[in-house]
Amino acid sequence: MSKLAVIAKRDYLSRVRTPGFWIATVAIPVLMAAWIVLPSLIMAKSRGGLRLAVVDATGKVAPALQREIAKLAKEDDGPRVNLRLEIVPPAADTAAQRAALDARVLRDEIDAWLWVPPTLFADNKVEYHGATLSNLMTLGALGRVVTRVVGGQRLAAAGYDAAKVEKLVAEVEVDQVRVTKEGDKAGGGLGDFFLAIGLFMILYTTVMIYGQMVMQGVLEEKANRIVEVIASSATPSELMAGKLIGVCGVALTQIAVWLVSFLVLTAPRLMASMGAAPGGLQLAALTPTVMAHFVGHFLLGFIFYASFFALVGAAFNSPQEAQQLVSIATIFLAAPFFFFMPVLNDPDSTLALVTSLIPMFTPTVMMLRIAIKMPAAWQLAVGYVGMVLADLAMVWLCARVYRVGILMYGKRPSIKEIWRWTRYA
């Protein structure tokens, strides 16, 4: 086995064998699963429903409300809210009745009560009193139903057929279909948005975390004083490359687990078995092309930033000393957070084009564009060539600093000194 392979193997195994690695690797798919499965579960549970007492002083709203809610429960694609109404006749002593209803809420006999005052048709107001007001979906649905009932009553009073009018003014649904080279893809919209942000975030976090892992590894080897023992049989370049490859392998292992879990979790059959996707959200399909670009952008981005982190680790003696240069890398890596929203919104804008072709931003910004709308081939090509050239320059520079830095102990070097190291023979 070559020295490079021996070093890469050690760096890979020593990290993959830790429990911390597997906790992080499994935690993300678990969260992902929770995000997909939990809403369905919660909705299924909420079928227990809201126990709502309705006091209707107008005498016209409550029965219609009952009918509407019964109709709603049968519909499949509406918001899944289940209201169990109890119609309470209005009493003469309003204050006493309101107090009594409050008491019932507190005794947990009902969840809430709806007060429909006689002035409803004049001032358009009902009152809702509940033990909790955070059940936004239910409240929203209730509001819409009450509005429809009251609207219907008004139309009827004005001599129109409510059902007919409703049909005439029905909201037009915009079916979203995304045009791609692989053929039309229905759905998309929100799913693409989340996919793009998800890939962007994973890219940013993994490059950041694993880049810093390289730095910590180098710092540790310096602090443990093992680096010169190794440097006597492997060249500094083999040592640095071995570490980059080993840590990169760790990252790819993790990413592979994540991608596979994503594919499994979003498999059409599994999604179907859980009922429709949560909240009407359709998850975008992660195509092989997008995945290949993701791995490509990750690798090239990782090499760029991790080499720099290796330089930082070699140059200094402790994480504290390294902080200044780490923050420089972080600024460049995190900069796309400032313009990722405009890029998402218009992936063909000049801003998107220019930023995605600046090599240090290409990994994250281009990935964002790829997930939203595949950029022109020449743009992808320029992006890749730019990243490869930037990587070569970075690796060359960092290797020169690295081979000097790993043998330097003691005082914290200035940036000027580190620059001078690059010119040593």
């Binding site: 086995m1 020295k3 021996v6 070093i7 050690r10 020593s14 540790e220 080897e221 443990n224 004083r225 093992i226 010169e228 023992v229 190794i230 440097a231 006597s232 049989s233 492997a234 060249t235 081979r403 043998l407 102990y409 001078r420 040593y424 023979a425």
Partner: protein, 301 residues
């Protein structure tokens, strides 16, 4: 017999400071060679160039009869002054890693690692993490890691610094065994007494230059000057009065007698016998320390 190691005109400067200024030396096969000098003399830089950890500005390194290649490094065992181990790795894995790094064949490796652990009495700690071991045990593992690939040449930079007395003894035993097996050792130290006890050959280095090198016994004899150690029934009074004596210094119950110019040992002894009862008379070799101080003075560096 061709020398195991030859350094020819090595030079290295850092930011205008000449750390190594034309070091040449020859280490014959089967010798223990001491690279001596104070801290900052250029010993570590010389050794790093020999191990190809840093490149020389000028000069050549030859090992085993040819110009050193990367492959030769697998035949050298190197213990740097700044040394350590991966703290989180287990003892046995650490040894396997160091062995693999030196291209020890896979089927050999496990057996050799176990042999070393057995020999050092650490067999029951094979699965312990390095950080759980005492400092002394870690030093033993380090030594085993240096020797696991059975190197023909050992290069040790300040090997005794930081060792506890037990490990100092262990290291010396291992060096003796290594030498007895006909292998070559180069080690650097700034402690002259150590070198005096262990070395066959030495090179004295000061400010990047070799100011004296060769066989230790020969150097001592040549630099012995004209002084003698005398054990006699005298506190120095009668001896000093002799015209053939230039100076007398009392130390440790004996006298160190410097002969006057032009007086040889035979004449001095004859004179001494006439005034005192001589019980012991021998040539007084200077200590390495003394030779070194004088050599630095002579070289005027």
């Amino acid at each position: 017999m061709q020398p195991t190691l030859e350094l020819i005109g090595l030079r290295k400067s850092f930011d205008g400071t000449q750390a190594v200024d034309g070091v040449s030396l020859v280490v014959p096969a089967g010798t223990v060679f001491g690279l001596l000098g104070p801290n900052g003399a250029g010993k570590t830089t010389t050794i790093r160039m020999l191990m190809d950890i840093i490149g020389p500005d000028e000069g050549e390194v030859r090992v085993f009869g040819h110009e050193r290649t990367r492959a030769d490094l697998d035949r050298i065992g190197y213990l740097p002054e700044e040394r350590g181990l991966y703290r989180k790795m287990t003892v046995r894995e650490q040894l396997l890693f160091l062995g693999e790094l030196h291209s020890v064949p896979k089927k050999e490796l496990g057996r050799r690692a176990d042999d070393w652990l057995e020999r050092l009495g650490l067999a029951n700690r094979a699965k312990a993490k390095v950080e759980e071991l005492s400092k002394g045990m870690q030093q033993k593992i380090q030594l085993a890691g240096t020797l696991l690939h059975e190197p023909e040449l050992l290069v040790l930079d300040e090997p005794f610094s930081g060792l506890d007395p037990i490990n100092q003894g262990l290291f010396k035993d291992v060096l003796a065994a290594h030498r007895a097996a006909g292998k070559t050792i180069l080690f650097s130290t700034h402690i002259m007494e150590q070198a005096e006890k262990l070395c066959d050959q030495i090179a004295l280095v000061a400010r990047g230059k070799v100011i004296l090198s060769g066989d230790l016994a020969t150097i001592k004899r040549e630099r012995g000057g004209n002084s003698y150690r005398l054990l006699a029934d005298d506190d120095g009074e009668r001896v000093r009065a002799l015209p053939s004596v230039a100076a007398v210094v009392a130390s440790n119950g004996s006298l160190r007698v410097q002969a006057a110019p032009g007086v040889d040992g035979v004449r001095l002894l004859r004179d001494l016998v006439s005034v005192v009862d001589v019980r012991e008379f021998r040539s007084a070799e200077p200590t390495l320390e003394e030779i070194f101080v004088k050599a630095v003075g002579d070289a005027n560096v």
